[in-house]
């Protein structure tokens, strides 16, 4: 039982999960689950109670039972007590202040990350304003490497997302060309296949690999098929750079994605054997996935999202992408809720030591538009996000939602003085796509790349 007396009113919260849910800034998914505080004052009372909670409480009280859930067991069993020692004495409220203090340097945060568990950072985020989420996250740096180096200070990378509703190779190649000319694709060139079949996935992997090799692009490619499909194709010799999988914060929600931790262990072992020493996993997450599969255990969606990051960090991923507005208005209703969720996810992921990116996005039944996407993109870029999406004209014609465009990423790079990954930036220069100030300014049409690309398109 957790209690707070706020403004003369006494509030009781029967469990840690209830306390965290009621302390969560309002969002539709928690209302749908029946977990949200029933008044704004009660929400703040829960935040007061949460602020006074010692961080050690999260090491002794699990929001999802240890016996019932392998993600809880993973979190508890892999906790690094020595790394946690510097903040062990703090409450949640005290930890928020520590994160904003001058003591929380980049080096201190990197050393602390293995000592933090998802529930600690989720609880802390619930007390934070957007500004706090940005300031703290901007100090955490997580740098990962495959062919390019992602997450260095002053850099903003993009995943080039050239989806096509029929997986048409020429259609995909045309979108890749547009993206490359606009400086997109240094995080990866990654296609969501319309159909998750091994044959289709192999064809797309081969196409992307051929484009990358022909144009000698210092990046990595990915087809976002199910992990079992990718593992099968690795055995058959398909050109696999990265293993992709959607993940969630409970064992039952992961079962809904058709995965277990042992399956991810197996995939990680296989890709590590293929690419020793490199970061070669790519995970996607998003608040609400556990509730949507009926696997939330009465825990709020933001805490469960942070628990998905505990799954991700076991596997030294190259990229972790929170697809923040994709799930729809019953989980994140409007631009305000999507904005907050995106910054929470970036904060929690970075503090836990993950290379966070975000798909700043919305569906047409959410109360959001391009202005909301612009705002969240700018806030995330200012907070030091590793990568964002690059979709032609921000319109994904396969998945039917709006993301961020090649142009959006360029605008943010220029507004905030961010540059692409260094290897990719050098390649852009060699292709004649940068002006004297280092800005991406392709010299009109598919000019320089077109000869080599035309032959690729003809072959596709």
């Amino acid at each position: 039982m957790f209690r707070a007396t706020v403004g003369g009113e006494r509030h009781c919260f029967p469990s840690l999960a209830v306390l965290m849910a009621e302390a969560t800034p309002l969002r539709s998914g928690d209302q749908l689950a029946g977990l949200a505080a029933d008044s704004q004052a009660r929400r703040v009372a829960a935040q007061w109670a949460l602020a006074d909670l010692p961080l050690t409480e999260f090491l002794t009280t699990a929001v999802v039972p240890y016996e019932a859930d392998e993600v809880t067991r993973l979190i508890q069993d892999t906790h690094d007590a020595a790394a946690f020692a510097p903040v062990r004495h703090l409450t949640v409220g005290g930890f928020r202040e520590w994160l904003l203090s001058d003591a929380a340097t980049t080096e201190a945060l990197a050393a602390l990350a293995p000592g933090l568990i998802p529930e600690m950072v989720a609880a802390t985020s619930k007390l934070c304003r957007l500004q706090d989420l940005m300031v703290a996250a901007s100090r955490a740096q997580v740098v990962t490497r495959f062919r390019g180096t992602i997450g260095l200070p002053g850099r903003l990378s993009t995943r080039l997302q050239p989806n096509h509703p029929a997986d048409d190779p020429r259609g995909i190649a045309a979108s890749v060309l547009d993206g490359l000319l606009l400086g997109s694709g240094d995080a990866c060139i990654g296609v969501n296949p319309a159909t998750d079949s091994p044959e289709r996935t192999h064809a797309l992997l081969s196409l992307l690999d051929e484009v990358r090799q022909t144009l000698a692009i210092p990046t990595q490619t990915c087809v976002l098929a199910h992990v079992t499909t990718t593992m099968e194709l690795m055995r058959r010799g398909s050109p696999v750079d990265l293993v992709f999988q959607s993940i969630a914060g409970t064992e039952a929600a992961n079962a809904g994605f058709g995965i277990t931790l042992s399956l991810l262990d197996e995939a990680h072992a296989a890709i590590t054997e293929r690419h020793p020493g490199l970061h070669a996993m790519y995970f996607e997450t998003g608040q609400g996935s556990a509730l949507s599969s009926g696997a939330h255990h009465g825990v709020d969606q933001q805490t469960l999202e942070a628990r998905a990051y505990a799954v991700a960090r076991c596997y030294r991923p190259l990229l972790v992408n929170t697809v923040v507005g994709f799930i729809g208005p019953e989980y994140l209703f409007d631009g305000k809720q999507i904005t907050r969720a995106g910054l929470e996810d970036h904060f929690c992921g970075k503090l836990l030591g993950l290379p966070m990116g975000a798909d700043v996005c919305y569906t047409n039944h959410a109360e959001a538009d391009q202005d909301d996407a612009d705002a969240l993109l700018a806030l995330l870029a200012a907070a030091g996000i590793n990568f964002v999406m690059g979709v032609p004209g921000a319109d994904d014609i396969m998945l039917g939602y709006q993301s961020t465009s090649f142009h959006d990423a360029l605008a943010m790079r220029e507004l905030l003085g961010r540059r692409p990954a260094p290897e990719f930036e050098a390649w852009l220069g060699e292709q004649g796509l940068l002006d004297q100030a280092g800005r991406v300014r392709p010299p009109g049409g598919p000019a320089r790349l077109s000869q080599r690309f035309q032959s690729l398109l003809a072959a596709a």
Binding site: G393, D395, I397, H407, E414
Partner: protein
């Protein structure tokens, strides 16, 4: 200004490639084109389903019901309410209960526009095949603020062995009026999406009316023959060799 060098590549994809640019930013025309597409999609989401006289002209009795979602905002926030019939629906449907083979439900879903434009033409193409195939059809049910699973409750109340739900799909930027069709055999309280078959993107510029009717008649016939729907029922209509007469007519 949009670069003509992109014209040949646009034949390969509807993606917004080669957009006119000023500095790093979009030109004014592509900016407003995107905004118009989004505005149309938003208007479609919030459009209320009006009277559809063409549905009345199909030769079936028509019953109108609502879900428990009282308005559009509630519908968007509470999918569970959009799947449940409101209190007036039971008495409205009860007089029509009987040993029906198929209940056809026309539901607004996320685009009433799709329903207003495409539901009647698809049914006009489909119903003759169903009658020829010996389907005992329940009255046509028009459902407002309705999700797919509302069709399960309708079919159970009417006593129908199967449900066909024609529903407005979530509008995309490319089309605000795409109609989806969901087939469910023996719909029950615990029925999930894995138990259904779906035919999507029905509209003149997507899957045309005749082609959609063909697919639906094929799937309904197979569903009845195997006594089940969902993952076990594959859409092989494109390469079906032995088609039943009722389907071949189409």
């Amino acid at each position: 200004m949009t670069d003509p060098a992109w014209t040949p590549l646009r034949a390969f994809t509807a993606a917004r490639i080669g957009l006119g640019r000023s500095g790093a930013s979009l030109g004014t025309a592509p900016l407003l084109e995107f905004r118009l597409a989004h505005a149309r999609a938003r208007d479609a989401v919030h459009h209320d389903l009006g009277a559809v006289p063409a549905l009345e002209a199909l030769g079936l009795p028509v019953v109108t019901v609502r879900s428990r979602a009282a308005d559009r905002r509630t519908f968007l926030l509470r999918p569970d309410l959009g799947r449940a019939l409101d209190d007036d629906a039971g008495p409205a449907l009860a007089p029509h209960a009987g040993a029906h083979g198929l209940a056809v439900v026309v539901a607004d879903g996320l685009s009433a526009l799709a329903v207003e434009r495409h539901a009647a033409p698809v049914l006009a193409a489909l119903l003759p095949a169903l009658r020829a195939g010996g389907w005992a059809l329940a009255p046509l049910v028009v459902a407002r603020q309705a999700r797919v699973a509302l069709g399960d409750a309708v079919a159970r109340t009417l006593g129908a062995a199967a449900a066909l739900v024609l529903i407005g799909e979530r509008p995309g930027l490319s089309a605000p009026d795409s109609l989806g069709a969901y087939l469910t055999w023996a719909p029950a309280a615990g029925t999930t999406d894995a138990d259904r078959n779906c035919v999507s993107n029905i509209r003149p510029d997507g899957l045309g009316y005749q082609e959609a009717a063909w697919k639906l008649a094929f799937l309904l016939d197979r569903m009845r023959a195997m006594g089940g729907s969902g993952v076990q029922l594959k859409d092989e209509s494109d390469r079906a060799a032995a088609l039943p007469d009722s389907v071949r007519q189409l």
